[in-house]
Amino acid sequence: MNMVDITAAQAAYRDELVDAGLLIPTGVDGLYGRSGVFEDVVERFDALVTRWGGRDGAEVMRFPPALNRQYFEESEYLKSFPHLAGTIHSFGGDEKAHRTLLRRLEEGQDWTEDQVATDVVMTPAACYPVYPTIARRGPLPGEGKLIDVFSYCFRHEPSIDPARMQLFRMREYIRIGTPDQVVEFRELWLERGRAMMGSLEVPLDVDVANDPFFGRAGAMLSSSQREQKLKFELLIPITSSEKPTACLSFNYHQDHFGHLWDIHSADGDVAHTACVGFGMERVALALFRHHGFDTALWPGSVRKVLWG
């Protein structure tokens, strides 16, 4: 399948989803409303994640889909992904500037000149607010920490691929502790992820992956990430079997966030971190692709897993 075919397949699936009423278009690629049926599947999958991971004693944290800009700046996200970041700006001018703004708006000119950056930045991944929060509490307890987050995330990558939304939800478990604790967590979820998604009867594969780092420095980071097998993805074909879609990811950050935020284990060493992320919309899209748009007609075994 070449790029033209892949793009056509993505556009076709998006149109099918819109025609079926599962996604509600807004006129912006990658920005959709969701129907009740779509949300039901997301909620049932969210509950399934809790069934698999909820007994591990994670501390639940729910943040709005935005970050303290200072945390965002300290995270070095702009070093690696400047092209994906979404900063929130607001009008900062006086009455004269307001009149200018309205005039430009009316004349169809650029009206954004007097917009200034606020203290708020869109959350790029659900785990970002967690690290500075944990760092503020001081050294970790001996057993480390396990955190459960769920948030809308923003990435500026408009696409006609319904599986590449600009605003989408990510559930995550985040492990913070010694290298042994963190690696054990990731191994556990690599196994669980396969088993959990297998129970939904979708074709899947797990493979080494890399993040979409920016520029030549990014090429270096991507190749290093792959060589060290720091990121794995659980892939499910949605619009292409040759280029299946990452629906879960298993990430070992080594001591990157520990260093950035000065998080220390009980023994005083810099903490290591890892996370498992569940792409809620992508999983829903994969289920609709493989089991059809009418959830009442899904295989009984899959319905039982999700709805009981």
Binding site: K79, R216, A217, A219, M220, S223, S224, Q228, H256
Partner: protein, 82 residues
């Protein structure tokens, strides 16, 4: 060239040890070179030696030791592929 590499390592590599104490075949990753440190090192070497690493050299192996860096930079300075 080795002295130049050591000086870039000391300035940009973020190593846990003194770059002067490293033998040219010592493993830089074992000496504390991180992925992000490696990016700083790569950019520092490009500036120091006025070269540009092609994409196929942007991997961990290129920067694994002072000797490996020397070989790569030498290949680029000589105007050919490393």
């Amino acid at each position: 060239m080795i002295a130049g590499i050591r000086s870039v390592l000391a300035e940009c590599g973020g190593l846990a040890v003194d770059a002067e104490t490293l033998a040219i075949n010592d493993d830089l990753y074992a000496a504390g070179l991180t992925s992000h440190g490696c990016v700083g090192l790569m950019l520092g070497l490009e500036e120091e030696f006025d070269v540009e690493f092609p994409e196929k050299l942007l991997n961990r192996r290129t920067f694994e030791s002072i000797a490996a860096i020397r070989d790569a930079v030498r290949g680029l300075v000589d105007g050919g592929e490393a």
